[in-house]
Point group: C2
Chain length 490, copies 2
């Protein structure tokens, strides 16, 4: 492909990309294809001869687009958003062009330095304390995903703890005795997280080859991890001769966007010298973005001074393309000591910087008084049909369909306190039916989950295309579907 | 940024990208900036207000480009290539646009299916046996890098072996006794690789929290891992009560592109039931691409039937953008059993497919009779100055500067056999001086390493812009510099 062919192809791709986003609101958010649809549409073997771009673009239209789930659609209210914006596409174009595996400074000085600078920018924007800046002992690195960030810190925490235990036994590094002793201690290590933590914490412990224990949460605590519940787990570990070494606290859980009780948990951990050696991580993959707003800036103050690491995803709520998961550590030697060889953490710095300078904060600010809380209010307005289950937070509403036969199990919020939803099989079944019917029709895309034994629907609308009218439309669809399901039941 | 602003910005970016590649051969391959250069050029804090694209593009020109190391330059002969092509940039544009965290089928059917299909295409192109296809029990997944691929299989191998040992002890899964026993076995596991294996094997074992032992290689074996040398390590493990569970064999080592002796190693492993349970992986990150050529297609036959997994990087030699590291496994349940939760392996399928259909095989075919072997021949032609140290392979030449005082230590190749280079401090020092002087001048970029105690220079030229004239020019620079260094010494 020569430069004039590339120019023509790229111009054509750009028109196609613009029309893709332009027609997004009208497109069905979920595709209608069946599993295996693509196999029959493409050749069995790789092409022997190069093909023309025009033929490929035609195939993208006719074979690929019909199989896409539109994460950028304003009707995508499932999981969490995955933002794409025009500036972030420009960033990706440059990132692709300057393609440099920057595994050391010389391999691409601009990549390495830009990443460090932009990470410092973001640490300041999130209100993280000085120690997380590269000018101090800490710093940030870009990871592919929050799961990668969490696996990285859990593994580094294992190395830090097993090493210090072996050294405390008087072992000398790089001896066979040290290796044996370190592995012996490793076998006793336990990573801890609440049962609302994203599965990446349990997976991180699995990758690290260590044990994992979860702290139970409950609706009466709004599914937040509390110090007394954590204490139980810590003490049980100690009774069994096990050594807690890593704790994941969450800012905005996947299920319900709850926040663990940072202050009381950190106070608990300060009680014992061994507990002070636990690596404490804050997973703020989605809701961490909110720390740049004035109204949420106080949150970081509750944990920032007491934790070892913090991660958040630019690619969820801050208009930057996947993948840009930011990981900050208090002591960067904790990472370098653990992994020993220079990690190639340095991708995508261009895309981040490009999008950052254009409009990164608009990702949140534009929605400041927009659809953040509208959906919860709409649900509250139909307390005959729905009950709010956990405290609405960061644009996420978690609710269920009311069991019409139940007595007084309603979502009566008094001064922001939500009446506790009791487990109710009839409500579970109705909620599940509504959820499945809504998604099967594919006009909007929402998620369900189970919280403290209660089956619930999650609706989140914070992607770049989010607008009040789409939230209202989603609400209408859910009301209509709920009435339809209730009708069938009677 | 609205659509007309995006169109204008993207058109301008495309012109800039074309001129970037157009002027590549004239650009200095290494930048002249000093560490920390960027900090003074950009603001200390993130921007408060969005900026115009024109201002950002100006900054890319004046602040970023001067700090780039040009991996795509034909004068980049260091490490291994990192290819970028126009089609792969188009692929990245679509991949960015269709941004979909496809962690399950519904989250983006097209992504999931296209990846599976393209991985089957590539398995066929590499001549991997049937079992590595998705229609069989195996299949491929795209990873970010070879290091990720290797860490993934080592961790999966640890889980497979520790699990089967615990089950063989009569333990029942998901019991406290099973957890204890599995962790106990884990503490005895050893991952093995040769001392020429990329550091990602040792790092993978570190991440997995297991022991690691390396097999020594020697120049007399062309730095290839042999069965007798491996046997020593296996037997020593057993004497110490340790259990080998993973072996990395390499197709094209980083240092010298050597190939381990697959057939004799696999024969060795078949000797004992415990050795048959070792997960055998082939790391073909760079040279795996060669399997698509007729002349190299026989290589896969020597290992393909006997190994558990295989990885290669499309982004090195097959014209696809970073990151597209292909990992194939014989039994996909080995991965799903190990990690338990669906891994989000599914990125970048678009970019791969785009570049694949346009001109992927040209990455190798265009160089078939081109610069692949020219450099080695040039070095042979100056046996007064240089000695070839290991067998030239896959476009990589490994050589050293001759010690003029040495007697008969020359690179006399007879029927393709290279005279063994003995360790020589004077030669080491001369070679190092030449290497450092060449790179400090930045006209070409090459790598050095130490092989069996011998300091050597590595020159590789297989990126998309590689041409004979650049190879000849690099040779001239190295000859000139060597003569200059020798002059100074006398």
């Amino acid at each position: 492909m020569d430069q004039s062919q590339f120019r023509a192809a790229a111009h054509s791709a750009i028109d196609d990309i613009i029309s893709h986003f332009d027609s997004m609101p009208e497109k069905r958010v979920l595709p209608t294809v069946e599993p295996g649809y693509l196999r029959s549409l493409v050749p069995e073997n790789p092409p022997d001869e190069p093909e023309e771009w025009a033929a490929i673009q035609k195939d993208i239209d006719s074979k690929i687009k019909p199989g896409l789930t539109h994460w950028q659609s304003p009707n995508f209210m499932a999981y969490f958003p995955a933002g794409v914006t025009y500036p972030s596409i420009l960033g990706e174009m440059y990132s692709a062009t300057f393609n440099a595996p920057a595994f050391n400074w010389l391999c691409s000085p601009a990549c390495t330095e830009l990443e460090t600078i932009v990470m410092d920018w973001m640490a300041k924007a999130f209100g993280l304390p000085e120690c997380f800046l590269s000018s101090s002992k800490g710093g940030g690195v870009i990871q592919n995903s929050a799961s990668d960030a969490i696996a990285t810190v859990i593994t580094a925490a294992r190395e830090r703890r097993a090493r210090e235990l072996a050294l405390a036994d008087g072992m000398e590094e790089d001896t066979p005795e040290y290796e044996d002793r370190k592995i012996e201690h490793q076998g006793k290590l336990v990573a801890i997280a609440s049962d609302q933590t994203h599965s990446s914490a349990a997976k991180g412990a699995l990758i690290a080859g260590t044990r994992f224990r979860s702290v139970q949460t409950q609706l009466v605590d709004n599914m937040e991890m509390t110090a007394p519940r954590l204490r139980k787990v810590l003490e049980k570990c100690e009774e069994s001769g096990l050594i807690p070494y890593h704790l994941t606290m969450t800012l905005g859980t996947t299920n319900s966007c709850s926040m663990d009780r940072y202050a009381e948990i950190l106070a608990l951990l300060s009680e014992k010298p061994e507990w002070q050696r636990i690596w404490v991580h804050v997973d703020a993959a989605y809701a961490g973005a909110s720390l740049i707003t004035e109204e949420c800036s106080h949150i970081a103050k509750n944990f920032a001074e007491g934790v070892d690491s913090f991660n958040m995803n630019m690619h969820k709520w801050l208009l930057v393309n996947f993948d840009a998961s930011l990981l900050f550590v208090r002591n960067r030697v904790d990472l370098t000591n653990a992994f020993d060889m220079t990690p190639a953490y340095l991708r995508n710095a261009y895309s981040d910087s490009g999008a950052l300078r254009l409009e990164w904060h608009e990702g949140i600010y534009s929605q400041d008084h927009g659809p953040w809380n509208i959906y919860a209010d709409l649900i509250r307005g139909r307390s005959d049909l729905f009950e709010i289950v956990t405290k609405p937070a960061f644009g996420l509403t978690v609710f269920r369909v009311k069991n019409p036969q139940a007595t007084t199990n309603g979502s009566h919020e008094t001064n922001g306190t939500i009446a506790l939803c009791k487990r109710d099989k009839e409500s579970d079944s109705l909620t599940k039916k509504v959820y499945e019917l809504v998604n099967s029709r594919g006009e909007i895309f929402i998620t369900s989950t189970v919280i403290d034994g209660v089956y619930v629907i999650r609706v989140v609308s914070t992607n770049p295309m989010a607008e009040e009218k789409y939230v209202r439309n989603a609400f209408d669809i859910i009301v209509r579907t709920t009435e339809e399901v209730l009708q069938q039941e009677t």
